[in-house]
């Protein structure tokens, strides 16, 4: 459920198909996302799950986001 929602957010921001996005996807390299795309993805994820991401630099793959959300959401 967390992964599906994150995939939807990333797909919307990067304009990619959801099928292209897996847990192993590297957000910057595989999806041509620059730092501002990543900022917006993190903003949307923070709003969606009511969490705060302190260190966006630590996020490389989709799995990093899923793990972070699952360990921080209530």
């Amino acid at each position: 459920m967390v992964f599906e929602k994150i995939r939807e957010i990333i797909a919307e921001q990067t304009g990619k198909d959801e099928e292209e996005i897996t847990l192993d996807t590297n957000v910057k390299d595989d999806l041509d996302a620059d730092s501002l795309d990543l900022f917006q993805i993190i903003n949307d994820i923070e709003d969606e799950f009511d969490i705060s991401v302190e260190d966006p630099e630590a996020i490389v793959t989709v799995k990093d986001i899923v793990d972070f959300v699952e360990s921080h959401k209530n």
Binding site: D34, S35, L36, F39, Q40, N43
Partner: protein, 324 residues
Amino acid sequence: MTTRIIATGAYAPGQVITNDDMAKVVDTSDEWITQRTGIKERHISSGENTSVLAVNTARQLLCKAGKKAEDIDLIIIASVTADYGTPSLGCMVQKEIGASNAVAFDITAACSGFMFALSIADKYIKTGIYNNAIVIGAETLSKIVDWSDRSTCVLFGDGAGGAYVEKSQTDGIIEEEIGSKGELYDILTEGHTECKNVFNDKKEEPDPLWYVNMNGREVFKFATKSVVKSVERVLKNAGVTADEIKFVVPHQANTRIVDVISNKLGIPHEKFYMNIDRYGNTSSASIPIALNELNEKGLIERGDKVILTGFGGGMTWGTMLVSW
């Protein structure tokens, strides 16, 4: 009774620096800057200080409004790059244009500065203390950016813009809000001066906080959220729908930030007037420079509903809905 913008003006230094010119100074490229910011070129001072830009704007305002300098009641300048600690830019403009009957002062609210200055002028006019005002945002950011930091120096430009406003019984400012969130003050700073004197032992080293410093991610987050909420509140309080808005003149910080704001508000991109490609981010000058261009192109007519909205260091924000 309200306050109405009667005339607009703007002035920028003649020297234009393109992204290719920037690539000769720092490791960057036209493609990198354009994709992430929307900026293609900016005006950079060849030595004109902020007061020169403000004075030229003030002269234009008098000319376009058909007013004599002696008739001006109030001069408010917003800037984070004034020539001096004192005198204010306002007093320098007062002298140069000969506005001998005005009271003049400066305010600081960074990129929201023009909105704050206009809000103050509006209160003096609505309370009946003054009948008119010259309100200007003026900056030479080139003197406070670190020209060896490629992540910030490509973003900014120099310029000034302003408005002559006066008391109106009909159209003018309909609704406004200004706001600040001081708890975030350290995510965007410039111009820090250490307390050095002969009775302490501070080392004589350059202060890196003199230059523009920003946490890009936090500024992006603040900008996209604060502006959206602010515009929504102003529209709601005024009972005006987004469809009724002819143009939004946003602070020209970054095209990508404005794109997010446009998407979240559901106001089409075409309604956001942008000229960041030719000016970069000119802080407090950006909204009046863009507004002046919109006005000079004849794209707005008297009675059109226009939103001016800015955000910046402090952190601060300000939004106004005007009936042009």
